[in-house]
Symmetry: C2
Subunit: 331 residues, 2 copies
DNA sequence: CTGTTAGCGCGTTCAT
DNA sequence: ATGAACGCGCTAACAG
């Protein structure tokens, strides 16, 4: 028989109250900074709580509050910049300061199930990194959760960063002279939450500048598949500029071009997005766009802070663009 | 457009009971499949629940159960390809079948805070993808959570996949003849949860085969940094084989070698791990190891199933190895 | 001003 | 098949 077998039952507010010689209500008041108590009492309660390592039961609190202390970060099925974890880490730290706990939820193939799962947490807030549609957002808001938005594909397009990225890529691809433009999306559409907006940005730009609308192709991330996808576009013999969804796609296009014997960047210029380490390590080095998510983080942090009623310090509206082109050898 | 009025308050078991003309206790029993009720009653309750879209409050349930329905998947701070997301997706689906909801938690820089955050959910189970130390596991288990995958007697060091991967890399690197071996870890140690075991595997293998113990270097993912890291190892003039922590590191090493003008694979052979798309798209194509996480998934699924008392012993013994070398042009 | 009592919120379960 | 009580924290109302 192991004497250590005791199921550690967590201390409750009752235990703290008993130890501090007060009532449960007082414990609650002191711990939540409500009402005024003599320092003596406050101290006794705080000490008792500390000694018992008291942590209020999230379940009890959620029950009475009607919602949990959980913030759900919903992440699209895609790999955008490996610094996603850093972003989440920072959200976590920030939320922690407001007494909120962060969990991540990967968006599954079925949006409804994802939404249901998120709803099930009765989260106090949902950080949407590009997954939620309009109706999902309002559904969440109807249930009382605050949705902290980032990229909304449907609100004013000109404000959408992805829209601007599409245009930025065009400018870069055409800076060496005119060429036919193609947008290379991922083969797996589900992995492509931002592609459509970028493509839209490109279409609008070409439209404004009197250029033909770029084609859109889907490129698998293997050599053979990419090759056949690219070959169809190259057949016309004029120089081609390929704006890719991300660096991985760009690398597939480049590999295909190499296999097909076309010269880069003369006959084939390629641009990625994300500035991954890999893209900068290969030859030819990728021209790409580095996305800085500090502005996103700031916005999230502000929204998070406003949850606790803290002053919503709006930072400067227009700073520098949150993304900048990285010149490589592929344009 | 249907302007259905959003219910501000979710239905409770009381609402269902009222609608079905029974008591709350009956609702609970029927919904949880306890006790025997006439089909008539069962049906009425089930229908009422469905019509009201009743979802039991997780908070209420957690309160009475003492723990939540949450399964926390703890993910190491490492670059994860979409394969990890697929793994999590599958865990999510599997857990859902048992009425459990999955959340992901990225391991932060501070293990204690990570542990505390996980504990705070009072999870019914924790899926550890390579972050938890022994004392963390026991701490979780002491609080009543099941840590998955469960440690099994056969999980000695020799069976550790990473241990075997290290050895497999050595065999591949040395297949072209003897050369000096170096293990290239990530610069950011925090991102490297599996490297140590792989290095251990290599050390043991060399020891058994009477070869010198491989050096260990840390390689940053930029050209200049990788170059200086590699240069120190190349100075001896004999052929070098570099076993890399992953494909990204391998690409950094290759870029450095290219810059330094060494021939691949004659003077410098390189091996990665992960078989990323990028590694297969570059020239020279990477020799790497593809890791199949189906076995891991099976094990997790089995442990998950056993949470609900379902003894699911379907998994046969060791079939094929869960990883296989991909021959490229770098060895 | 300081602190307590009482009761709510929701699902589960024992005893009837 | 049900009433009542429980688990835990919060807070309105109230008493010292």
């Amino acid at each position: 028989m192991n004497s250590e077998l005791q199921q550690k039952k967590r201390p409750t507010s009752f235990d703290v109250a008993k130890r501090a010689g007060v009532s449960r209500a007082t414990v609650s008041h002191v711990l939540n900074g409500q009402g005024r108590f003599p320092d003596e009492t406050r101290k006794r309660v705080l000490e008792a709580a500390a000694e018992l390592q008291y942590t209020p039961s999230p379940a009890g609190r959620a029950l009475v509050r009607g919602r949990s202390d959980i913030v759900v970060v919903v992440i699209p099925y895609t790999t955008f910049g490996s610094n996603l974890q850093d972003l989440v880490d920072e959200i976590t730290v920030r939320a922690d300061k407001h007494g909120l706990s962060v969990v991540v939820r990967f968006a599954g193939p079925d949006p409804d199930k994802t939404l249901a799962a998120v709803q099930n947490f009765r989260p106090v807030a949902v950080v949407d990194l590009g997954v939620l549609g309009a109706e999902q957002r309002s559904s969440l808001e109807a249930s009382g959760a605050v949705v902290i938005p980032r990229l909304r594909p449907e609100d004013s397009l000109e404000n959408n960063p992805n829209f601007v990225i599409g245009q930025m890529m065009l400018e870069e691809l055409l800076s060496r002279g005119p060429r036919r433009i193609v947008f290379a999306a991922l083969l797996d559409e589900r992995s492509d939450p931002f592609g459509p907006a970028r493509y839209e940005g490109m279409k609008q730009w070409t439209n404004v500048h009197g250029l033909p609308t770029p084609d859109r192709i889907q490129v698998p991330l293997d050599l053979a598949g990419a090759q056949s996808a690219l070959q169809r576009e190259l057949s016309e013999g004029q120089p081609l500029g390929v704006a890719c969804y991300n660096d991985a796609v760009a690398m597939a296009v480049l590999a295909a071009g190499r296999e097909l014997g076309v010269s880069v960047p003369e006959q084939l210029s390629v641009m990625g997005v994300d500035a991954t380490a890999e893209g900068q390590l290969v030859t030819p080095r990728l021209t790409t766009i580095r996305i800085d998510n500090r502005p996103v983080m700031d916005r999230i942090a502000a929204d998070l802070a406003s949850l606790s009623g803290q002053a919503n310090r709006t930072s400067g509206a227009a700073e520098t663009l949150p993304f900048k082109p990285i010149s490589g050898e592929t344009t």
